[in-house]
């Protein structure tokens, strides 16, 4: 029995017989050549063949996996066509008299080295893609058969020193029970492919896998990252129990997609997702969100040198409304300040940006910036249910002023005869202790409250949430924060408006019970957290 602790890169648990595949190398091939012209011809021929194989793999990936996996082979094809890479291989043959095999290996090693020095971990890990290509070209050059494949009805745990996307796709999906690779990372393309195909996979980093594991029984636990070769009966049984439990949990979570978020005694909560892009809305719908409780507009502004136009904002918001198909979209107006800078909005450096001219304060300082957003939101709202939410409110005068801006934006559209909603549900993001304390007064001016628990915690406890050294003081469970939340919900209900939570605390299942006791109407969380939260709610009395 050998047990390895590795990196779980694709969840699931599998047990079966190991099928080991040795990586192609240039061992035994000559390093140098006299006939450089012939070597160039061999190299060119092999590169052409490799390009054909990659096209075949691209098509196969489109049919068996998804577009993102197919794109991996498109990138491999482009790497193979890259002038710098090809020129280097050619130069190694013509100038240094390398054999084609040696030239491929040397050039690949050099380019991998360059990527590892790029300063980006993500790019450094792309070295694995170069070595996948290297092995493919060398296999073609040496004339070795691709890979000896097992019988079509044999189910296997595929093991290799380095599992690559092209290797994975040589097998039928139904044959592969699990994957064990000696090298790789969570973001390696083979890991992405494994997740896309739903095959449990573990990277046993630092372990040299060789032929001795071939034919051995093996358990791959892609949930915890364990690999056990030649397990005993007890371990087999444990693995089987784990697998059943895991599969049941997954099924249960997925089956909750359409189930109501309701406690055993029938208390209902609306479960929504927070979104920071249009893609996030797709993910929200996949997990069964009932709407978007917080649509962050910032992504439309960050990293740009020119402000987005009214048309552009209207277009994005309208797309969001269409995707949601009748579900509510809560758009928060721009929440940006000197801590989140963008080139398109000039901002003075501030000694304490969390307490400076940010969010609504910035919008008041830049009336055009604000008006463009409000007009775009009103225009999008002509296509479906949209609410607007104002961040950083402390006083009644601020919400009144924001609402006056909204009215004048609507008047402006009316004059220009541009279609828009007549009325918008208007909410306050309760994220300052001031707003929570006077929530009874604010409730008269708003249609709903949504509690921003992250900022509420920071402002209540006087702790900068960006400051790691102070993180011990940043306790969102602090009684003061919880009481402010409860007070806000109570005041909302006394004035007949609804109240939700859109901060991270909403997804924290250790406090879900307390929130439900307060009578919270809505929780808006990240798509990954939604089903677990729903499960928790359904288990509450």
């Amino acid at each position: 029995m050998t047990e390895l602790k590795g990196l779980p890169v694709s969840p699931g648990i599998a047990a079966g017989t190991v099928y080991f595949v040795a990586t192609a190398d240039n061992a035994g091939t000559p390093r140098k050549t006299e006939d450089t012209e012939a070597e160039i011809r061999r190299l060119t021929g092999a590169l052409d063949r490799a390009a054909e194989e990659l096209t075949g793999l691209y098509d196969k990936a489109l049919n068996t996996a998804d577009d993102s996996v197919a794109d991996i082979f498109m990138i491999h094809g482009m790497m193979l066509q890259d002038d710098d890479f090809r020129n280097r291989m050619t130069a190694l043959i013509t100038k240094d008299g390398f054999s084609a095999e040696a030239a491929v290996s040397r050039a690949a090693a050099e380019f991998e080295e360059d990527l590892s020095k790029s300063g980006s971990d993500y790019i450094a890990q792309r070295g694995a893609d170069i070595s996948d290509l290297e092995h493919m070209v060398i296999r073609i050059l040496t004339g070795r058969s691709a890979v000896q494949l097992p019988d079509a009805d044999e189910k296997i745990i595929l093991a290799a020193d380095e599992i690559t996307p092209s290797l994975t796709l040589m097998f039928e999906r139904s044959q592969l029970l699990g994957l064990v690779s000696g090298k790789g990372s969570t973001t390696s393309h083979a890991a992405i492919l494994a997740r896309s195909l739903g095959i449990p996979a573990v990277i046993a980093s630092g372990t040299v896998l060789d032929n001795t594991v071939s034919g051995v029984q093996c358990i791959v636990d892609g949930v915890h990252g364990n690999v056990i070769f030649s397990p005993d009966v007890q371990q087999f049984e444990d693995a089987d129990r784990c697998r059943k439990k895991y599969e049941l949990e997954q099924q249960e979570l997925l089956s909750l997609r359409t189930a109501p978020a309701e406690t055993e005694s029938g208390q209902k909560v609306t479960l929504c997702c927070n979104a920071g892009s249009l893609d996030d809305i797709d993910r929200a719908l996949e997990c069964g969100a009932e709407g978007i409780g917080l649509f962050r507009s910032e992504f439309l502004y960050l990293g740009r040198s020119e402000l987005p136009t009214e048309e552009e904002l209207t277009d994005v918001y309208t797309k969001a409304v269409r995707k949601l198909n009748g579900r509510r979209l809560v758009v928060r107006t721009l929440d940006i300040g000197a801590d989140k800078k963008t080139d398109c909005i000039p901002m003075k450096p501030e000694p304490n940006p969390a307490l400076g001219i940010r969010a609504l304060r910035l919008c008041f300082a830049e009336p055009d910036l604000f008006a463009v957003q409000l007009r775009a939101i009103l225009r999008a709202a002509a296509n479906g249910p949209v609410s607007v939410m104002f961040p950083m409110i402390c006083s009644v005068s601020e919400i009144r002023r924001a609402k006056a801006c909204l009215t004048s934006a609507a008047d402006d559209l009316e004059k220009r005869k541009i279609p828009h909603a007549d009325r918008l549900e208007t909410g306050i993001m309760v994220e300052t202790p001031a707003a929570a304390v006077i929530s009874d007064i604010l409730a008269e001016e708003a249609d709903f409250f949504s509690i921003g628990s992250n900022d509420l915690t920071q402002y209540t406890l006087a702790v900068d949430r960006q400051n790691e050294d102070a993180s011990a003081y940043c306790d969102p469970h602090h009684e003061s924060v919880m009481r402010l939340i409860e007070l806000t919900v109570k005041n909302a209900h006394e004035h007949g408006i609804w109240c939700g939570i859109c901060g991270e605390l909403g997804a924290d299942t250790s406090v879900t019970k307390r929130f439900l006791l307060s009578g919270i109407d809505e929780l808006s969380v990240s798509p990954q957290a939604l089903l677990l939260l729903k499960k928790k709610i359904r288990e509450l009395p």
Binding site: D71, M79, F85, K117, R126
Partner: protein
């Protein structure tokens, strides 16, 4: 000559797949398209060269367009970068 400055938002920076899309888009134009970042520069038409810049989230990049069809290239490439990064 046209120039475009941008701060990378994407969590993974300019990673392989979108870089491929960017290179394919750049190849359509005759003008020189160069990306500068972290005191290095590379042609946007070359995949490995672009990847070697090692561009990460929050890096400031400058893209310079120089040549006859620079207006069209500027339009497409800035849109591509804005949407993907």
């Amino acid at each position: 000559m046209k120039e475009f400055r941008y701060i990378i938002k994407a969590a993974d920076g300019i990673h392989a797949r979108p870089a491929g899309v960017l290179v394919n888009a750049a190849m359509k134009y005759k003008c020189d398209i160069t990306m500068k970042a972290n005191d290095r520069e590379a042609s946007v038409k070359k995949l490995f060269a672009l990847m070697k810049l090692g561009i990460k989230q929050n890096d400031v990049i400058t893209v310079v367009f120089n040549g006859e069809d620079e207006e069209d290239a500027y339009k497409e490439i800035t849109k591509n970068i804005g949407e993907n990064y």
